[in-house]
Symmetry: C2
Subunit: 185 residues, 2 copies
DNA sequence: CTCCTTTAGTATCGACTCGATACTTTCGAT
DNA sequence: ATCGAAAGTATCGAGTCGATACTAAAGGAG
């Protein structure tokens, strides 16, 4: 009964998910921005990076960011190193709201599947996404540690290094999403 | 490197897809409505059914439908049996525009995967969607033939029957999506 | 050091989605 | 004949989104 082509399944899943993402007084895009900021490293918590992540335009992101700030979920601070940039950070309220993330339902449903189905889904989905991004030439937004510029323990004492930005990285840094990330060969 | 939880993968895939769905002068929702109408059977090509499918409200769907009509992609005809209802139908232009459906990229990317990954993805995704819908208590919108009210060949001569609506069904009907569909036990 | 270009963000417009509410028309059941 | 439910439409406000125009700061090149 299930269509062989998963495009229809993904289309349907996407729609169900988008409907759920109107909870908690936020819009789907606002949830996505909030999630991103919670997972992005310090080089990547700017409106520019968010623009690249969401794949829209500066103007739209500017509005979304203003809405989140108005709701008290994030703060905007002009970057000391470059005063054109704005550092975005989650407030305590923002972090606590994320615990009601409607996407948790998705993880819960996934958790209901048996072990083999879970494994299969994760693997095949990763391949599909990779293929989509390859076509689109979009940035992968992977975690720091898997980047080709990541130099493990290059600073000693368990401190790593980014060979692109020439910055020291903590263990915590290396687990976060980075705009500049390029998968290691 | 890939997160074990596929929620992030699906979130990302969804976003990439939504960005692509702004092509051809249509909005993502308009594409979805067009796709639905192309695949829905005659009991299901109404604003009500479309509302249930999209999971939004009557008002929103009314606007989307008006936009598609304005663009010459669908026609609206008051139903003869019940004059409250409106029958929606794709025009030739609508059908031809669907050949440029941005979701084709998704099918193409899927086609790039090897046979096993394709199989795994379809199966696991179907399970996940089923689980999501079970939680949401949303209608599955499956094809007519897989419904518990479907009576194969009940009219003879390869004509089938819907035991819910008491209507004869052609072979073509039975392959289409139905609002009333409930999976056979 | 001054021009000039690039980069980061904001401001604003128009089209659209979306939830919510109020309304009209039609059907059906009592 | 009446009343209530169902199918759509109309309209409002908030938000997304692309597009364009704008400001301010940084980084050269001379």
């Amino acid at each position: 009964m299930t269509p062989h082509d998963p495009a229809q399944l993904i289309e349907r899943l996407t729609r169900v998910l988008q409907n759920e993402a109107h909870a908690g007084g936020l819009k789907p895009t606002q949830w996505e921005a909030l999630r991103y900021l919670a997972r992005a490293n310090r080089f990547s918590r700017t409106p520019s990076a968010l623009t690249a992540y969401l794949g829209t335009t500066k103007g739209t992101v500017s509005q979304t960011v203003m809405a989140l700030e108005r709701k008290g979920l994030i703060t905007k601070v002009s970057a000391p190193s470059d005063r054109r940039q704005v550092d975005l950070a989650l407030t305590a309220a923002g972090r606590s709201l994320l615990e009601e993330d409607p996407y948790e339902h998705l993880s819960q449903s996934w958790a209901q599947l048996d072990g083999q189905a879970q494994e299969q889904l994760s693997e095949s989905l990763a391949l599909l996404l990779q293929e989509m991004l390859r076509r689109r030439k979009g940035r992968p937004f992977g975690v720091c540690r898997s980047c080709k510029f990541f130099r493990a323990n290059a600073e000693g004492n368990g401190r790593h290094r980014c060979a692109l930005l020439n910055q020291a990285l903590t263990e915590a840094d290396s687990a976060l999403i980075c705009v500049e990330q390029e998968p290691a060969g």
